[in-house]
């Protein structure tokens, strides 16, 4: 082969080497990009999850208050019934006490 041809072939090889090097650089950049992408994914997810957690806690707090109010309201009804029922038995209970004290009963 003539020197001319060898030179041409070297030029082609150089061109090929540049193509491969360029691909390797692109691959390296892609791998570098991954760290930034990971941070982005984590940050986005963190914000989303924090919002979700805040919502869960807020809903729990509201539900707890509602349950508490419901129990107190039920208790008010129970108390009212208790007082009404007791009013009817008050004289009977007082008479038992009197009987116990003045010795006419147990």
């Amino acid at each position: 082969m003539s020197i001319e041809i060898l030179r041409e072939i070297r030029r082609f090889e150089e061109e090929a080497r540049k193509i491969v090097e360029d691909a390797e650089r692109q691959a390296e950049e892609l791998l570098k990009k991954i760290e930034a992408d990971k941070r982005k994914i984590e940050e986005d997810l963190k914000i989303k999850v924090n919002q979700q957690i805040a919502k869960i806690k807020e809903e729990a707090s509201v539900k707890a208050e509602e349950e508490s109010k419901r129990i107190i309201s039920e208790n008010e009804k129970t108390l009212k019934e208790l007082v009404e029922k007791t009013e009817r038995n008050l004289n009977k209970a007082a008479e038992i006490i009197v009987k116990t004290i003045i010795g006419e009963g147990e």
């Binding site: 090929a16 691909a23 999850v49 729990a60 349950e67 009977k92």
Partner: protein, 209 residues
């Protein structure tokens, strides 16, 4: 037959095609790695945050349960306080009834029984009975009771009315001769005692349907 130019072109194409294939393979591999690593990371981080969300759900459940438990304790306390108040009302009502009874013969009988049982409880002897300003108890009645106690206990017993008057709705206070033993059976004390002894019975009557 190929010319030299054609041959060179062939070689060039071959070299560059090979390079291009290698470059494509490198980039494909990098992309594949990139996607795989990102996916792995995303899956891991999602699992980590899922745990946080589950913890928050569990904590939320506990917040609700704790509030319910606290409220139940609070309302139970209110009911218990109300029941105590109602029991006290029954005793107050009993006191009001006793105020009317002390003006009747029932009270006279109660008083005599109180003197008798207290004298016996104290084991007889020389006893003094103290009553309030309104109470009248004849010496003759006291003598009869003393005789009965003497007979039953075999201990000579005398009972006299003390000069000092007590502040009570009714009932008696009895002391022995030396004054070192005293039994308080005033209405007020009997009510206080009854609060301990028959409280559950009163509650049962009050809160029965």
């Amino acid at each position: 037959m190929l010319t030299q130019t054609d041959s060179l072109q062939f070689i060039r194409n071959k070299i560059l095609n090979d390079a291009q294939l290698k470059a494509t393979a490198i980039i494909s591999k990098a992309k594949e790695d990139y996607e795989k690593k990102l996916k792995e990371f995303e899956d891991n981080i999602k699992r980590k945050y899922e745990v946080l969300v589950e913890n928050a759900k569990s904590e939320a459940k506990q917040i609700i349960e704790r509030k319910i438990a606290e409220t139940r304790v609070y309302v139970n306390r209110i009911i218990l306080d109300k029941k105590e108040e109602l029991i006290e009302r029954a005793f107050s009502k009993a006191f009001e009834i006793l105020k009317t009874i002390i003006k009747t013969d029932k009270y006279k009988k109660f008083l005599e029984d109180a003197v008798y049982s207290t004298a016996k409880y104290m084991g007889g002897g020389d006893l003094t009975v103290y009553v309030n300003d309104e109470t009248v108890i004849e010496n003759q009645t006291l003598d009869k009771i003393a005789q009965k106690v003497t007979r039953e206990l075999g201990v000579k017993t005398t009972i006299r009315i003390g000069e000092k008057r007590i502040k009570a709705l009714g009932g008696i206070i009895m002391k022995n001769k030396d004054g070192d033993i005293e039994v308080n059976n005033t209405i007020e004390t009997l009510i206080e005692k009854a609060k301990n002894t028959i409280r559950s019975k009163v509650a049962k009557i009050l809160f029965s349907t």
